[in-house]
């Protein structure tokens, strides 16, 4: 089963995402911010990255930019979780190399449906 790196500074959101993904059979590595995620990304084989945008230490967009620069992550799908309804964040994320986004709030079913789009 694919491995998903899930990044969110909010413990409840992280819990929900991890619980949902594990329940669907994915292997999950979770991280609390960009810096944490970056170090975990280097020591795990990751098939998909799902990251929150607004986080302390390193935000999701910087994380995506840093990850894209890593050889292992050049073509890895990366999704951002965003509540930002303005599309500037999305555009910014896309410019940094994001594959797509999931708009918060979302429920577990929506999350899984979106993931299926990129992990067929």
């Amino acid at each position: 089963m694919p491995t998903i790196l899930a990044v969110d500074d909010s413990a409840s959101m992280r819990q929900m995402v991890v619980f949902t993904l594990k329940g669907a059979g994915y292997t999950v590595v979770d991280a609390v911010d960009g810096v944490d995620a970056l170090s975990k990304a280097k020591s795990n084989k990751v098939d998909l990255v799902i990251t929150d945008v607004n986080m302390p230490n390193m935000d999701g967009i910087s994380l995506i930019r840093e990850l894209r620069a890593l050889p292992n992550f050049r073509f890895t799908p990366m999704l951002m979780l965003t509540t930002e309804s303005g599309s500037d964040k999305k555009a910014e994320g896309k410019a940094a190399g994001a594959t797509g986004w999931i708009v918060k709030p979302f429920n577990p079913d929506q999350l899984l449906a979106t993931i299926k789009k990129v992990l067929r």
Binding site: D9, S10, A11, S12, M13, Q15, M16, F19, T20, G23, A24, D52, N54, M55, P56, R68, R74, F75, T76, P77, M78, L81, T83, S85, G86, S87, D88, A91, K94, G97, A98, T99, G100, W101, V103, K104, P105, F106, N107, P108, D109, L112, K117, V118, R120
Partner: protein, 712 residues
Amino acid sequence: MSIDVSQFLDTFYEESFEGLDIMESELLELDVGAADQDSINTIFRAAHSIKGGSGTFGLNAVASFTHVLETLLDEMRDGKRNVTQPAVDLMLTSVDVLREMLNALKTGQDIDAEHAAEVQQQLERLLKGGEEPDNDVSGVDHTSLSDHPEVMVGSGWHIRFKPLSHLFKTGNDPVRLFEELSDLGTIQVKVNDSGLPSFADIDPEDCFLSWEIEYIGDADEAQIRDVFAWVDDDCELELTIIGGEQKATTVETVAVAPVAAPASKTTAPAAPAPVAKAAAVAAAQPKEAPPIAPPKTEEKSAVARKAAPPSTESGSIRVGIDKVDALINMVGELVITQSMLNQLGEDFTMDKVQRLQEGLAELEHHTRELQENVMRIRMLPISFAFNRFPRLVHDLSQKMGKNVELKLSGENTELDKTVMEKIGDPLVHLVRNALDHGIEKPEVRASLGKPAVATLHLNAYHQGGNIVIEISDDGAGLNTEKIKNKAIEKGLINAGDELSAEKVNELIFYPGFSTADQISDVSGRGVGMDVVKKNIKDLSGAIEVLSIPGKGSRFTIRLPLTLAILDGQLVRLGDQTYIVPLVSIIESLQIRKENVKSIASDSELYRLRDEYVPILRLHKVFNTKCDNKELINGLLVVVEGDGQLAGIFVDDLLGQQQVVIKSLESNFKRVDGLSGATILGDGTVALILDIPGLVKLSKERIKKRAAASAAA
């Protein structure tokens, strides 16, 4: 798969309350006019998390409220809006509203929707730059899917999809898009390789192909575009309807629609956007319509009620990783010692006694260490209790027109979580009192030659197994004359009584005592210091006051670090051991016959200097055996309980030690005069005396006997 998201609610509440605390303290620190970008960011992030979580976990009222707050913060973050004092005050109020809302939701009570709507309206008014709010206060975006224009109907779509060369580098893959499209109907895909350069020029990581897709199905344009939403900016996309009416040419260059509009949407959520524009946005980016805020009519209909009791006592505890790691380490050590002892036991001979003893000593050492560390898990820094004061002092001093600087020190001093939860209210009371009664108005201070800004100092430190919390101010101090008059008026003392200043000051702890000239809404309702004192007593603590007229006053609270362990004096009565809490012992003495006075057949008093102390024969109270019936052969432990002295008559004093309190109630049943039990080193059970309870018990006995003898 369906997952019940309510299981994550506890975590959400916990982190939201933490987030609100952070927002509050950052807001209080903000310099109006020159706000620190990092602070704004931190506040924004906290609001943002609450909004995201509340939306996800179905708390729509909270999500809708936070949305407006977040928008305001977002504008401040982007420098589009100045940080003004009214804005900060309104945001502080919003923090309160959110806290109340979350508290209500957590405890299953109704949200005070009216109040929330009122504050939300104020926020919206502020957002629009002080304009009158229009009728719509729901914060619902008008670009919802229902605003769609008439949906084009045909037998399908012809799609031309020409990705830009960098498509793969965003992790997207045309094949996935086609597969997704095929979920909506049948597709036929033709690849166009005319863009392929000569082999030598091919960069294998670039995309040179384009595709023509015939889609047959009933998906509308928005659904088709939704499939391509992520690659919007990375491709050229053309849609032509098949078999629809010809006037419906919806060919549109993609780059136009999606980027510009939504910013205005967030800044003015209440202003109805022109329908056409809304429709365009919705059609181009159906994902954009945020399902954040369903109309909040359901909360509106909820009856407004009194503010929910802000009880944030929670059942869970956050423990630092280092503490857990320490525990794991210690358990590891314990396991090693145990296996060492096991090995020793397998072929034990007497010459190995030395090693056995060493092993046992090690075991004891590790066990004690483990015990101490487990206890430490329940310990939290007192900053948890102190955190609310910057806000409280800020609000109250503003309300009362006083200029106060709050100093906090010793915030990292740790104490038991239960004690922490119960000390909060008494502390608030003392701080309110200091602000209301203690600290003078600026003009009075000026006339006295004191600095205009008064200082209120909260300090905490450890002192020999206790935590000491001091609340001191440089205000007027206690007014002894006023207290005395009041006490005489209330009949607590007689007019002629000569009392030292300390004794007078202690009068404020008597029930129903309040000297405020006028009852303000800050303090002075007369339910005051006696309750504070009682609460602290209930925690086996003590409070004292030191006051210098004109210079200020200082309240000192002493509390045990934990309620689970008690410093006890072991006493013997017959063959039983009892434990007297050390804090309640005044002194222990050998009984001198000339000091004993019998007043009734069974009531004895002991003369202790100027006072007479009732003697309590424990063996009579509990109906047990004892060695000495003659007072002269035993010892008297003088204790204080409920403000009264009593002498407990025991056979012998044993040692002093820390004991772990076990509940008698949950293991046996409630017994008057006993507060619990513990297990001593030799395995026997010792009962812990409830001193205030005993004092009460003996008083009742005396009363009953007096009544009986009167009747006879």
